[in-house]
Symmetry: C2
Subunit: 398 residues, 2 copies
């Protein structure tokens, strides 16, 4: 008789977004005349830029013609895209070999699937509040999880604990808090990981929102990171690919570990083996669209979209400044993480905004215990709605 993976019994259902949807629907039903302003959305709203759609159209034509049709591509991505990604890294002073770069269908897939490479006997360190995928994928394999407290005292940038850990998840710019690790703090993590022979799984999905040249966009800008870190990145927020699906993961060749049985195993080779066995690559046309992001024109166009979202973030931040509300994020991040005013709890503040001014955000409590009393606003909406929502918040709370 087949035995199922019983760790699934330990997975909690995430009710966050379904609960938000339920409350918003109930409110809308009761107030059909009200226009609801959504500042909770974690998804992009601007369309693909012209340079990308142009490349996609061209690739579709190639796929429709005998002479240029493409069948199976390399599982780890076409060289034309890996080269473009490598050149993008060079701009931040990071030099990668082509076969250290793996193209994938998104950071979420890779962040989940990377756990395949590790034994279940590892202690996993995860900051709280957190992107739930880090937690759930490790519960699925029954790894021991230790939560690390991110809070207002440490500016939501926790530092390494005294105890060793084996696998560490870091996300910077952070989802949900918007906090960004400066180089000197990230260096402490790299040193900690190297000292303990631990591995850092570095989620850089929001790197494109970093505007300050002093802040690291890649963990490989930190001395020693290539011997302790895997980096995950994505076109989702960079170029509006949430519905088009493309990302990339860097697995340095220096990540080589002794096994109990004796021989060494290279994480780079293991990931290649994993991907060639359980994955068949990203659609050719999507890779062509992604490569267009790195052209001069493509960069110009996506930077306009990013600037649009950054402007929204600024509008949100300015209002909170005026109201004297504590927040982080928003400057080098599309997320603004604020303390609920008047000691309100996260869901209490959610209802307060919804019922009084028809504004929707995301209760911080949904991202972990340390999120209680906090609230996430996002910059991915449209400008007019953002201005209107923040004006309403100002009137309500001033």
């Amino acid at each position: 008789m087949v035995s199922v993976n019983e760790n699934y019994l330990d997975m909690k259902e995430s009710y966050l977004f379904s609960e938000i949807a339920k409350r918003v629907a109930a409110f809308a039903a009761g107030h059909p005349e009200k226009r609801i302003l959504k500042l909770g959305i974690g998804d992009v709203t601007l369309p693909l830029v012209p340079k990308v759609t142009e490349a996609l159209h061209q690739a579709v034509d190639e796929m429709g013609a005998q002479a240029t049709f493409r069948g199976y591509g390399p599982e780890q991505g076409y060289d034309f895209l890996k080269e473009a990604i490598g050149n993008y890294y060079k701009k931040t002073g990071v030099s990668l070999e082509l076969d250290e770069i793996f193209v994938s269908d998104g950071a979420k897939s890779d962040l989940g699937n990377i756990t395949d490479l590790f034994s279940v006997n590892n202690t996993v360190l995860i900051p709280d509040p957190v992107y739930p995928v880090y937690v759930d994928t490790n519960i699925m394999n029954n790894r021991k999880i230790v939560f690390l407290s991110a809070n207002a005292q440490n500016d939501f940038l926790p530092l390494p604990p005294a105890e060793p850990a084996d696998i560490i998840y870091l996300c910077s710019p952070n989802n949900p808090t918007g906090a960004v690790y400066p180089k000197e703090l990230l260096q402490k993590w790299v040193d900690y990981a190297n000292h303990n022979r631990a591995i850092i799984l570095f989620d850089a999905a929001y790197e494109c929102f970093i505007q300050s040249p002093d802040l690291p966009r890649s963990i490989y800008q930190i001395e020693g990171a290539k011997t302790c870190a895997i980096e995950f990145c994505s076109f989702s927020k960079t170029a509006g690919f949430t519905g088009t699906r493309c990302g990339y993961t860097v697995v340095p060749k220096a990540l080589v570990y002794k096994t109990l049985r004796g021989p060494e195993l290279s994480l780079n080779k293991m990931w290649l083996r994993r991907q060639t066995t359980k994955f068949n690559g990203v659609p050719y046309l999507v890779q062509k669209g992604a490569a267009a992001v790195f052209t001069e024109e493509g960069q110009k166009q996506i930077k306009e979209s990013i600037a649009y979202y950054a402007q929204n973030a600024k509008i949100i931040a300015q209002t909170l400044d005026e109201l004297g509300i504590y927040y982080i994020g928003g400057i080098n991040s599309p997320y603004i993480w604020l303390r609920c005013p008047n000691r309100m709890k996260s869901w209490e503040f959610f209802d307060y905004l919804l019922n009084n001014i028809s504004v929707v955000g995301t209760p911080g409590a949904g991202f972990g215990a340390n999120g209680e009393g906090f609230f996430r606003l996002t910059a991915f909406g449209n400008k007019e709605n953002t201005i209107e929502a923040m004006q309403l918040i100002k009137n309500l709370l001033a």
Copy 2:
């Protein structure tokens, strides 16, 4: 210190296709004047059909316009595609609920990732010769594998063994052998699985090549299959999507299993949880392209492509008939699996064809112990080359 998944030490490198490439390259270097005819390829060669490229272009336009842009879609696929797939199943008399269908980036991904749902304490039954993904993904998790002998005595259609097993891989039409299970033999497998509470992972990636109305295209045409089988299917061979990436997996809701801890677990709900946690869906535009396959015009167009390949298979089969060489497949399958003439071994025959007539096929030994002495030819090449290659084979072996 991080401990890696040491099961990767047990993974054998598959040298099959790299070894073929190496020998072909060496031959080409030594005989630059020779045109090499490739009948070993497992990849499609005809371009995407017009109805699909039309839908892709339209979807690209939607993604480039503010009003019609799509961000994150449902991880399990858009309803418009799931409905089209459901209607396709209805044609074979199989009725599925919409949430039993999961759209994915291909059968290979799902066949690999489905192992997430099962405990490592399962015995896995795998026919030999075999598509290597079934074997490798289970070695990665250190499950016990029992090979089932497929051979000329059982027409490469092995029947259930006397001993119980927990997880069973079946592929029909088979890769690499081209053998297709008739209903009465597949019924024996379904009965065996239900009797043992085992699960069948049914790979139906080549169902579109079935021409005989009596042969099952889906395991759910067999009485009792919904309580013991998951089915994997793909647009790769059906509609030339090997480089465009889309497939679908059916996980019936009736697949519910007791756990040792007590509560029951539904594989359908587990797979939904797995996919929503570790996957972010197939690109919207690819799903639009896939949906176009099921339109009346789309069906007409892809059937022309399939007929083209079927014609190639017929050409290969006819030559083998004339030569009196034993083979299976080719009628309801794009693969022809033949016994090497004159008791040659697989690689010996490979070299014989390459060196004498510049024809490339795939040595059966590369697919498992039972493949020794056999050889795979495929129908995915172009017609002129197929005719020429088979004429050369005829002259060589007659």
